[in-house]
Amino acid sequence: MRLVRFDIDQWGEIADSLLRNKMRTFLTAFGIFWGIFMLLLLMGGGRGMEEMLASNFAGFATNSGFIISSNTEKPYHGFRKGRRWNIVLDDVEHIRHAVPEAEVVTPAESFWGRDVQRGTGHCEGSIVGVYPEYSIVDSPEITDGRDINAVDVAQQRKVCVIGKRLREELFKPDEQACGQTVRVDGIHYTVVGVGGKSEGGMSLNGNATTTVRVPYTTMQRAYNIGNHVDLLCLTARKGYSMSHVQEKAAAVIKRAHHIHPDDSQAVNMINAEAMFSMLEELFGGISILVWMIGVGTLLGGIIGVSNIMVVTVKERTTEIGIRRAIGATSADILLMVMSESVVLTLMAGMSGISLAVLILHAVESGLPQGTDATFQISFAMATGAAATLSLLGILAGLAPAYRALHIKPVDAMREE
C-alpha cells in the first residue's frame, strides 16, 4: 500500500486553489480571523480589567464585614427612640464568645483630619488605633520595618506604622524612616513600619497612604476614649457567610445595649463579602459572555469555511474525478480537501491571534505606571488557540471531504 504523499506541488495547489477566488477566500478567512481575534481580545481584556480591579482590593479581606453604631429607631426597655449609643470594647469579647463562626473580631478607633508632623514638615492624615488582628482585615502591606504587634498593644507603646505618602512627605527619599519619630496632636510616635498600600486601593478609616497606625491601647490613653469603639471588624470562618455572622453579632450587641431586637437602624452593618461576591459574579458573567461571543463568532467562521469548501469541492468535481481516474486514492483526495481547509483556517486564525496580541500589547504599554495587571494572553493560550484552530480546520474540512470522497470518476466524466 502506498503512503499518502505530500510535497511542494501540494502546497502550490493549495495556494492556487485559494488564490483563484481571492475575494471569496478573503471573506471566508475574515470570519475566522475576526472570531479568534475577538475571543482573544475579550479574554485578555476581561482578565486585565479584573486584575486591575482586584489590585484595588489587595490586602483587603474579601470575607469581611463591619459594624458601626447609630441612633436607635425604636424605644426599648424604657429608653426612648433616637438614643445615641456606642460599641464598647466589652462587645468585642462578647461576640468572640457568642459567635464562634467569626474568625476575627477586632475593634478600630480613628480620628480623621489630623496634622502629622516631623520637624518642620507636616501632612494631613488620620490616626487609627488597632489590634494586630486588624491587619488581617485591612493589611498595611508593610514594605519596611514591621506591623503593630501584641506587645505594642499590651505595653501601650507609642509606636506607629505610617502610610506610603506620609513617608514620602515627611522623610527624604534616602532617609531611614523606621526609628524616627512623627508627631500627631503633640504626641511623638516612633515609626516601626512603613506601609506600601497605594492610592486608590480599598482601605478602612481613610486614605491608607496618609494613615498613622498606633496600638489601640495607646490611643485609649492618648485621647482618653475609654472603651469606645468606632468600628467593629469581623471576618467569617470558612464555610460561613458574613451576613450570618453579622446577624448573630448584632443580636449580641443589641442585648448588651438595650436595643430593640427588631431595630434595623441602630446597629449599622456593612457587608464587604456580599460586595465582593457581587463583583465576582459580575466578572463571571462577563467571562461567560466573552466566551459566548468569541466562540459563537469563531463557530460562524468555521461554518463559513466548511461551506466554502463544499462549494469548492462541487466546483472541482470533474477535477477530482480525473484525479481518481488516474490513480488518486481516497486518502489523497481527503488530504487535498482537508489540507486546504486547515491552511485557510490556520492562516486566518494566526493573523487573528497576531493582531489580538499586538493590540493587547499596545493596551498594556499604554497603562499608567504602577498598574499591576496583565492584559496579554499567555503563550500557552496562544498555542492552545492555534491547536484549536487546526482542529476546527479539520472539522470544517470533514463534510466537504466526505462529499469529495463520494465523487466517482464516472460521474465526474459524465458532467462534461
Partner: protein, 238 residues
C-alpha cells in the same frame, strides 16, 4: 491481456437497467481494438468496467493475469494508476496545471519524486511532439495539442493497456488524423489499445472492431481493410 467471461451489469434504479448482458471478450497483448456501438448500446459501461472505474455484477474480468472484481476503492485506484492509461473525449486535463504538470500527475500519485516525474513528463511530451509547449496551460493549447498532452499523461505510467473513450470526438478531422496516427504509432511500438467510438472512420483505423448492440457483442470484424471504406480513404476520416 484482457479476458472477459459472461460479464453482466445492471444499473439499479427505480427501473433496473440491464446494460451488459453477458459479454465474452478476449483482447491479446499488442492488439489495437475498437469497440463500436450506438449510444445506449453499453459500450461506455464496458469501457468503465475495463478501466476499473465501475464494478460489474456477474462474470469475470482478468486484466494481465489479475482478477478485477469487487475491488476496494484504494486497490482499484492502485490498479488504475499502474495498469491503465486513459484518454478521454473531453481531454480532462486539469486547467490550472501546465502541460508538464498534467502529464506528471499520475506519477505524483505513485510517490515519484518531483524532479524525477517532471523529467519523465518532459520526455513523454517530447514523444508526442509538445516539448516546447510544456509550460503552457490547457487553455493555451489547441484541441489536438490537449489530446496529445492527455496521451502523454496516459503513457507516463507505462500502462498495460490504453483505454480511449471517443478520443477524436471533440476534434476536427485534421487533428483527428494526427491523434489516430499517434495511437497507431503507439500500437506499432507494442502497446495494447482499446478505443471506444461511434465513428466508423476511427474504428476502421484499428485492426479489430467489436460491434456492441443492446449489451451484447454482435460481431467481431478482424483486420478490416482501411482503404476500402468510404470513411477512411487515404487516412482522411469523416
Amino acid at each position: 491481456m484482457i479476458r472477459l467471461t459472461n460479464v453482466h451489469k445492471t444499473y439499479q434504479g427505480q427501473q433496473p437497467l440491464h446494460v451488459l448482458k453477458g459479454i465474452d471478450l478476449h483482447i491479446g497483448k499488442g492488439e489495437f481494438v475498437a469497440i463500436m456501438g450506438a449510444s445506449g448500446s453499453g459500450k461506455s459501461t464496458l469501457l468503465n468496467i475495463l478501466g476499473i472505474l465501475d464494478d460489474y455484477d456477474e462474470g469475470e474480468y482478468w486484466l494481465n493475469g489479475t482478477l478485477i472484481r469487487h475491488l476496494k476503492e484504494s486497490s482499484a485506484a492502485h490498479y488504475r494508476n499502474r495498469m491503465i492509461g486513459f484518454i478521454f473525449q473531453s481531454f480532462n486535463l486539469i486547467s490550472f496545471k501546465n502541460a508538464m504538470e498534467n502529464v506528471a500527475l499520475p506519477l505524483f500519485y505513485q510517490g515519484v519524486p518531483r524532479k524525477k516525474r517532471n523529467e519523465l513528463a518532459m520526455h513523454y511530451l517530447e514523444r508526442v511532439g509538445l516539448r516546447d509547449w510544456a509550460h503552457h496551460y490547457p487553455n493555451e493549447l489547441s484541441g489536438g495539442q490537449k489530446q496529445r498532452v492527455a496521451i502523454a499523461r496516459a503513457l507516463i505510467t507505462r500502462p498495460d493497456i490504453i483505454l480511449a473513450d471517443e478520443p477524436t470526438g471533440a476534434l476536427d478531422s485534421r487533428t483527428s488524423v494526427e491523434v489516430m496516427q499517434l495511437l497507431k504509432e503507439l500500437h506499432a511500438q507494442g502497446m495494447t489499445i482499446v478505443v471506444v467510438t461511434h465513428e466508423s472512420g476511427v474504428a476502421y483505423q484499428t485492426e479489430k472492431i467489436i460491434h456492441i448492440k443492446d449489451g451484447q457483442i454482435e460481431n467481431i470484424e478482424e483486420h478490416p481493410d482501411i482503404q476500402s471504406t468510404v470513411f477512411g480513404r487515404g487516412g482522411l476520416m469523416k
